[in-house]
Symmetry: C2
Subunit: 149 residues, 2 copies
């Protein structure tokens, strides 16, 4: 899905939900759709030059998460980050690697958890709707620096 397709999907979903097309919502959606990595409320606040109220940002993020347009994840930093949800027609999803040294968060593709779950015994009759998988470690850049010193 391209960024444009994503934006169209976002806005169509807002309309379907009977939600108004306001400036803060459009700005947020555009920022998040364009971002390489998950953004925090604070990130968005700064990227909008603080022109959109932080409270509005929090409220909007909650709404968009409720509509399943965004996914909320905590990476051990003490706050949440948000990124676009995989589109309804997308079969692919991704997860993240977090460098515990420099804090960088990057995507990685090729999740095989769904296949893995078919061979896994789950408690009770638990019905899985989604999953989060995050790899922690050290990024190549930090490894190289450590080796040099």
């Amino acid at each position: 899905m391209t960024k444009d397709e994503r934006l169209r999907w976002f806005e169509a979903t807002l309309e379907q939900a009977g939600m108004r097309r306001t400036l803060p919502r459009r700005v947020l959606l555009r920022l998040i759709a364009a971002s390489e990595r998950p953004l925090s409320a604070q990130d968005i606040y700064e990227q909008t030059a603080e022109e959109i109220n932080l409270v509005t940002i929090y409220r909007t993020l909650n709404e968009l998460t409720r509509l399943e347009l965004l996914i909320r994840t905590e990476f051990g930093e003490g706050f949440y980050r948000y990124e676009p949800a995989p589109g309804p027609s997308d079969t692919e999803h991704h997860h993240h690697v977090v460098c515990d040294n420099c804090g960088t968060i990057a995507d990685f593709e090729g999740c095989m958890v769904d296949a893995m779950l078919e061979q896994t015994h789950l408690p009770d009759n638990f019905q899985v709707d989604s999953h989060t998988l995050t790899l922690h470690g050290t990024c190549g850049r930090c490894l190289a620096q450590t080796a040099t010193k």
Copy 2:
């Protein structure tokens, strides 16, 4: 690893780190080692009948996590939960299923992420030290209740 072995490992690690064997630390370690599921600071505070200061609990949890005796995880509730780390000799680890309906958290065994990673392309030369995997969905109990209504 039995609960007793775990406790011994905990206390030996404290000693190695040159940390004193104090009441709050022993109480916390015992509580967490005995718990079926990850505990929050508040959980611990309540289970100690509020006899150990919340601040001390936070400080102790941080220390024990730094020593890698505990693992800290966020399950989307807005706060962290702590559970014993797999012992140094343990090859097995587990992850969790979270019922988004009733909030119950349960363990599940048989993680195949390590095997999966061998076939996965990671960004850069990222070196993976650990991973977290959490399944979200609906537990059997909640499914049954919904079906009945």
